[in-house]
């Protein structure tokens, strides 16, 4: 029902899409795959009427369409659910669903009709949520469902989902997949963008791959094994998916005792409930857990993010500390890469150089006076060792791809010369090639004796790079596995709260 041909788009001379074709049949899930920067998002924006100055033709049900605006596209039945959801957090579910297209009579809102209609759709998605509560009270997963409701409320026949599961918990992902199956049955065509292999193979009917703005190919999912898909995406073969060096485990580097982080106003049960563990130098400890298990809060608690709200003790080498502030923990040799680089990792207004040096600025400014030459030399060295791809260190970080942004944050933390590196989803939103480089970096850091604590929601990563895995459930550690004994099934059931024999 959708046919895109010879699509091209450039940004002041730089070609980001070149002669790309893509088609979608009713009732199919068509996965759009490719590394970050391959042109997937641009293609979607062309379809959604965000970019109107492209070349090539878009045909909808055999007719050439020419969208002048986002509204045009949505009227034609195309809904795009972006990674960053476009909901108004302070408004209710129903208000969001009808935003900009309110039912009204003589400019008075017809609330009854809107409520009834959205309730009907919500029910058809087997959701149970209060239509009048504001959407920011709900989890990202539910918010995504609200976006889907919005799409359905306007009879969208083509629904685009851009990495919809990146912030979802396992049950929420299941729910989403159920809904996708339902949408397929109703004859919707779904364009699905994802970096997660398991997901792609679970739901894809067909897969189209883009690389560097060029069309690489389309194939039925069963006929494109994952090794082949990766080859299409990166144009090279990854001999081994995740290469962990034989760890040189040394002395105990970090010992965490009885970390406790209290609950929030909306959820009073403690986020982290007296957790203790230790990590040795050269070791990578994985902390698995579904969203809301408290693993992220545990790392933040250790790092001092919550200040005096978190209690417990943290021992680095031989010194015992209270985790009272990030500034102090950094000076004691700890670094935390947070799971959201835009919110809490990067300062988007500053350039690469300033972002990298931010956490170790004291070293470059004796007596408070900056030494630009010293700073630049050091940042140059570290960014080169991380293979950061940028035209200049004075480039703003928002012009970098996800993988390179992540490298900037990593460079910032390694620049502090940490003994303990806490990594919370270091490969989120990062393309396959950069992921591989990040694994190699983790290997080299542990070779230098750094202890790494890693949170990741990707099972292959967890099993591939960690030496030992803790599984958290509702703020407590539910299981511990040596890597040799860990399996996907064991980890998932421990994360779901079941008792697992170790």
């Amino acid at each position: 029902m959708l046919e895109m041909q010879g699509i091209g788009k450039d940004f002041s001379g730089v070609k980001v899409l070149e002669d790309v074709c893509f088609n979608l049949a009713a009732g199919e899930v068509h996965v759009l795959a490719g590394e970050n920067g391959a042109g997937k998002s641009t293609l979607i924006k062309v379809l959604g009427g965000v970019y109107t100055d492209h070349t090539g033709t878009v045909k909808l049900n055999g007719e050439v369409v020419n969208f002048k605006s986002v509204l045009d596209a949505s009227k034609a039945g195309i809904s795009i659910i972006y990674q960053e959801l476009s909901l108004v957090g302070s408004m209710g579910v129903c208000d969001n669903v009808f935003l900009g297209r309110e039912e009204s009579k003589y400019s008075w809102l017809n609330k009854r009709a809107m409520l009834d209609y959205s309730a009907k759709i919500i029910k058809s998605l087997s959701l149970d949520i209060d239509l009048s509560s504001s959407v920011d009270e709900f989890s990202i997963g539910i918010q995504q469902m609200v976006e889907i409701t919005k799409a359905l409320a306007f009879d969208s026949k083509i629904i685009v989902m851009d990495e919809p599961t990146s912030a979802l918990t396992e049950p929420e992902v299941e729910k989403l997949f159920d809904i996708i199956v339902k949408l397929k049955a109703e004859g919707c065509g779904i364009i699905y963008i994802s970096h997660k292999m398991e997901e792609i193979y679970r739901i894809a009917d067909r897969i189209t791959v883009l690389r560097d703005g060029k069309y690489i190919g389309t194939e039925v999912a069963e006929k494109l094994p994952s090794q082949e898909l990766i080859k299409w995406m990166v144009g090279r073969e990854l001999n081994q998916q995740i290469p962990r060096h034989a760890p040189k485990v040394g002395e105990k580097r970090l010992e965490v005792k009885d970390i406790f982080v209290g609950g929030t106003a909306s959820n009073p049960s403690p986020r982290v409930d007296n957790v203790s563990f230790s990590v040795r130098s050269g070791e990578i400890l994985g902390i698995a857990g579904l969203q809301g298990s408290g693993n992220s809060e545990l790392l933040n608690g250790i790092f001092g993010t919550y200040g005096s709200q978190a209690t417990g003790s943290v021992q680095i080498d031989d010194e015992i500390y209270k985790p009272d502030s990030p500034a102090k923990m950094i000076s004691r040799g700890m670094a935390l890469l947070t799971n959201d680089r835009k919110q809490s990792g990067l300062v988007m207004e500053m350039n690469i150089l300033r972002n990298v040096s931010l956490a170790s600025l004291k070293r470059f400014s004796p007596h408070g006076w900056l030494r630009p030459a010293m700073e630049k030399a050091s940042v140059e060295k570290i960014t080169r060792s991380l293979n950061l791809k940028a035209e200049s260190l004075y480039q703003d970080v928002d012009s970098l791809s996800g993988g390179n942004q992540q490298k900037v944050v990593m460079a910032k933390w390694v620049e502090t010369r940490p003994k303990v590196l806490l990594l919370d989803e270091p490969t989120r939103g990062v393309d396959v090639g950069a992921k591989h480089e990040i694994y190699e970096l983790m290997n080299s850091w542990t070779d230098q004796g750094i202890a790494i604590v890693l949170i990741t929601s990707e099972m292959p990563e967890l099993l591939g790079i960690c030496d030992r895995i803790l599984v958290m459930h509702r703020g407590k550690i539910n299981a511990e596995f040596e890597i040799s004994q860990a399996t996907q099934e064991k980890i998932l059931s421990a994360a779901l709260g079941e008792r697992v024999s170790q």
């Binding site: 940004f11 790092f303 919110q343 207004e349 500053m350 931010l358 012009s399 910032k412």
Partner: protein, 335 residues
């Protein structure tokens, strides 16, 4: 991708699109207007420029502190009130108490700094929004200025024990601040403005603390997690703004030869306008003191050109409003 296209775009036209060039655009237009409507050559005389600089100096000093506050993503509405408090305190001490002027200056600077630090503490420690905290300080400071002065202008007419007024001599420090130096080419207030600009410039570009200020304005959470001392930086920022208000208050008193508790009303708006015309973003994280200097000169020249051409205040205000919008729109087209 949008980043890449923006980048290659700016590479070609880098200088023309830089914030400095955009801010200069507005200044150049205003200056050109001056050359055209030069009021029979009055605009071509250095004296006109010197007077413009003198007239704009007090506002400019406030704008220095305002720039730093705005870069942290905040705002300081209390500058006019703190200026008045400093002006009456200084006049009271220097004229009525005939205190050593150096001591009087130090006390006034401390008063200003203390007011600013209090705002900073409220904002940094108790997470009061900068708008609210400094609004409260604006009202409180005005009240304090009236209380200190007894609601009277503190001038050279000093009330004696018997109720009569006697005129005392203007202390020398007043004359000094008003005097012209370098062969009458520049006034001392303008030199004080230059010192304030340099202090701000050193802080923002040469010191570690300056980097922290940009980081907090750009992304406070990321800054905090990178070990940036957010609380002390905010106290310092607002404290510095307060210090500049103290300085400006002394200058104001010297220029008016009195301390007026009603002085400085709406000065915060002029200071904000200067910062914004320069192109420092109210969102924080971007901007600089040179941009503010351009903003100061733009407003200064505009006012001067209109006044030498005898344009009435009504039209002057309307034009100033229009220029603010024009300058901001010029900045907007960046993205």
């Amino acid at each position: 991708m949008t980043g890449n296209d923006l980048k290659s775009f700016t590479d070609k036209n880098q200088w023309l699109l830089s914030p400095t060039a955009r801010a200069l655009g507005a200044l150049i237009i205003v200056f050109a207007m001056g050359l055209i409507f030069n009021a029979d050559g009055a605009f071509l005389k250095w004296g006109t420029h010197r007077d413009m600089l003198r007239a704009v100096s007090v506002y400019g000093i406030l704008a220095c502190g305002m720039t730093i506050v705005i870069i942290t993503g905040g705002i300081d509405l209390s500058v006019g009130s703190i200026l008045a408090l400093s002006a009456v305190s200084f006049s009271l001490m220097a004229i009525h108490f005939a205190m050593n002027p150096i001591l009087a200056i130090i006390i006034c600077l401390l008063i200003g700094t203390a007011c600013g630090c209090s705002s900073g503490l409220l904002i940094g420690k108790y997470s009061v929004q900068p708008f609210i905290a400094t609004l409260a300080m604006m009202v409180f400071g005005r009240g304090l200025a009236k209380w200190v002065s007894g609601g009277q202008k503190i001038s050279t007419a000093v009330q004696q024990a018997d109720g009569t007024y006697q005129y005392v001599e203007v202390p020398k420090v007043f004359d000094f601040v008003n005097s012209k130096v370098f062969a009458d080419n520049i006034t001392v207030v303008t030199l004080i403005l230059i010192v304030c600009l340099v202090i701000s410039w050193v802080l923002l570009t040469k010191l570690r603390q300056g980097r922290y200020i940009y980081a907090i304005g750009g992304n406070e959470e990321a800054a905090r997690l990178s070990g940036v001392p957010v609380l002390s930086s905010k106290i310092l920022t607002y404290g510095l703004s307060g210090l500049f208000c103290g300085i400006a208050g002394i200058c104001q008193a010297c220029q008016e030869l009195q301390g007026d508790p009603e002085a400085g009303v709406a000065y915060e708006l002029s200071a904000i306008a200067m910062v914004v015309i320069g192109g420092t973003s109210l969102k924080g994280g971007r901007g600089g003191i040179w941009l503010t200097l351009i903003g100061i000169l733009t407003i200064g020249y505009l006012e001067k050109i209109l006044s030498i051409n005898a344009v009435g205040e009504d039209k002057r205000l309307m034009l100033t409003g229009a220029i603010i919008i024009a300058a901001v729109l010029l900045q907007k087209t960046r993205k």
